[in-house]
């Protein structure tokens, strides 16, 4: 596909690399973590060289993801502050999901849903990191009640975050022309005007 020089840059190379580092880590963590959660998923440990290797690798991948996520958090934090327009958008998200986004309120670089996703994911990573430390017996030894609580929190938050990630991925696939923003950094002007009109006006100076 030829790219139009008039396309708008949405993510620079560093932002994209940062996002995909988090994304790859998350997929590896979800696959290995599910294996320890339910026997039905245990065969996924074969992707990591067996159960023992999955157990060894999972926490280290978790540390890499947390570090990469913290960098991403500070990159995008200021762009994700909730505004009244976001709340208005969120209250009418049903129309959007129903497939009719023409009357949705004008949005900046991120809409209310994306901002919600940003804060939910940030909270999830924080909880997973802390509870994950509780479970990392190779290096940490905590009282058994703390470990038990950590196990419940880790499993519940992880399952929730896997669900949220599926929503995140689906939203990107569903809204056509979105995935390319995270793959080669640009979006078409029409895409920007339709989905993020305030951002479109801000970067193009047009109405």
């Amino acid at each position: 596909m030829m790219r139009n020089p008039k396309d708008l840059t949405r993510y620079d190379a560093q932002e994209r690399a940062n996002h995909w580092l988090v994304g790859i880590c998350f997929i590896l963590l979800a696959l290995s973590g599910l294996a320890f959660f339910h026997p039905a998923f245990f065969p996924l440990t074969q992707l990591f060289g067996g159960g023992v290797w999955a157990r060894i690798l999972h926490p280290f991948i978790g540390v890499v993801m947390t570090l990469a996520f913290v960098v991403m958090f500070f990159r995008f934090k200021s762009l994700n502050v909730m505004t009244p327009a976001d709340k208005e958008w969120l209250s009418r998200v049903g129309e959007m999901i129903d497939g009719d986004d023409h009357n949705m309120p004008e949005q900046g670089k991120y809409n209310g849903g994306q901002k919600m996703m940003f804060w939910i994911m940030s909270l999830c990573v924080l909880l997973l990191f802390v509870s994950g430390i509780f479970l990392w017996r190779a290096y940490f030894s905590l009282p058994v009640d703390v470990v038990r609580l950590g196990a419940v929190v880790h499993a519940a938050v992880a399952a929730f975050m896997i669900g949220m990630t599926m929503v995140h991925i689906y939203a990107a696939l569903w809204v056509r022309g979105t995935v390319r923003a995270m793959v080669y950094g640009t979006v078409t002007r029409a895409w920007a005007k339709q989905h993020h009109r305030a951002w479109y006006r801000q970067v193009t100076g047009k109405s």
Partner: protein, 295 residues
């Protein structure tokens, strides 16, 4: 090998029935704390039969030696000095796996076949399937399993499952010089305990009783205690042990619920796509921008 066996009651991280065509008698080890003299012959017999030698430690100032269970010490004598009715009592309890009927370790274990419960009640670790995560420690109400620092596998008392399988008593029971460790069918052991309790009561221990806690479905290692109303006197033997509700939530209810929820999100997304179609950029907007470019 567990899978060659025909009498498995439960297998960790396995959702289908284990091979269990053969039914065997439920066995139990009875530890009569009131006749234990603390000689540690059971500890020596355990390391000898199982062929494990712990590091030689240091004396910590009390008789407990080693001070705690380890991956290489599957049983330890715990010595408690308590004062009852103005008299010193030296309560000596042989600690080790209780072989619960409802084992928290097995419930928590994520590795298929790493923990096996035989029909005779023995809960056995199969280290070749162990991944070293330590969830068994998280699940155990008695703080028994230990992860080896050398191979990262979990170890604990096997109730000499290899000996029991060929009709022998566990090594500790065989070695005990006072008969404080008895081994037989669970029913026999209960009968034996009842006689001991009658005897203890006649000697002034009104609260003597059997420790076979119902919270874990009963155990296949039971104690005769002089003070059965206060098991915590015996170096913290839990009063009413059960699998922690957090562990039950984590490895019970949450497992199917979360799996179904995740599948629902994935399927929901797919059906949303096929029913509502993609959210395309409107042709009007694209044409409008093209016209602007042409100007």
């Amino acid at each position: 090998m567990a899978l060659q066996s025909l009498d498995i009651a439960r297998r960790s991280a396995t959702t289908t029935p284990a091979p269990g065509v053969r039914q065997t008698t439920e066995v139990a080890k009875l530890i009569d704390v009131s006749t234990c003299i603390g000689c540690k012959a059971c500890q020596a017999a355990c390391m000898e039969w199982n062929d494990i030698r712990d590091e030689v430690g240091i004396c910590s100032g009390v008789y407990d030696n080693p001070a705690d269970l380890t991956a290489k010490s599957w049983t330890v004598m715990r010595f408690a000095e308590v004062e009852e009715k103005g008299k010193l009592e030296w309560l000596i309890r042989k600690d080790g796996c209780m072989h619960c009927a409802d084992p928290g370790c097995l419930k928590a274990c994520p590795a298929p076949g790493a923990i096996i419960q035989y029909a005779n009640g023995i809960v056995d670790f199969h280290q070749e399937n162990c991944i070293g995560c330590g969830y068994c420690i998280t699940g155990c109400p008695f703080n028994i399993p230990r992860i080896s620092q050398e191979d990262n596998k979990a170890y604990k008392c096997s109730l000499c499952s290899d000996r029991v399988a060929v009709g022998q008593a566990p090594a500790c029971a065989k070695a005990c010089p006072t008969g404080a460790i008895q081994f037989g069918s669970k029913e026999q052991m209960k009968d034996y305990a009842a006689k001991r309790i009658v005897d203890l009561k006649s000697r002034g221990y009104e609260k003597a009783g059997l420790y076979d806690p119902a919270g874990v479905g009963g155990t296949h290692v039971m104690y005769v205690l002089h003070h059965a109303d206060r098991p915590e006197l015996y170096k913290g033997l839990p009063n009413d042990p059960s699998i922690s509700p957090l562990v039950s939530l984590w490895k019970g209810f949450a497992k199917p619920l979360a799996s179904v929820a995740m599948a629902a999100v994935a399927l929901g997304s797919l059906f949303h796509f096929v029913m509502k179609g993609p959210n395309e950029v409107s042709k009007e907007l694209e044409d409008e921008l093209e016209k602007e470019d042409a100007k």
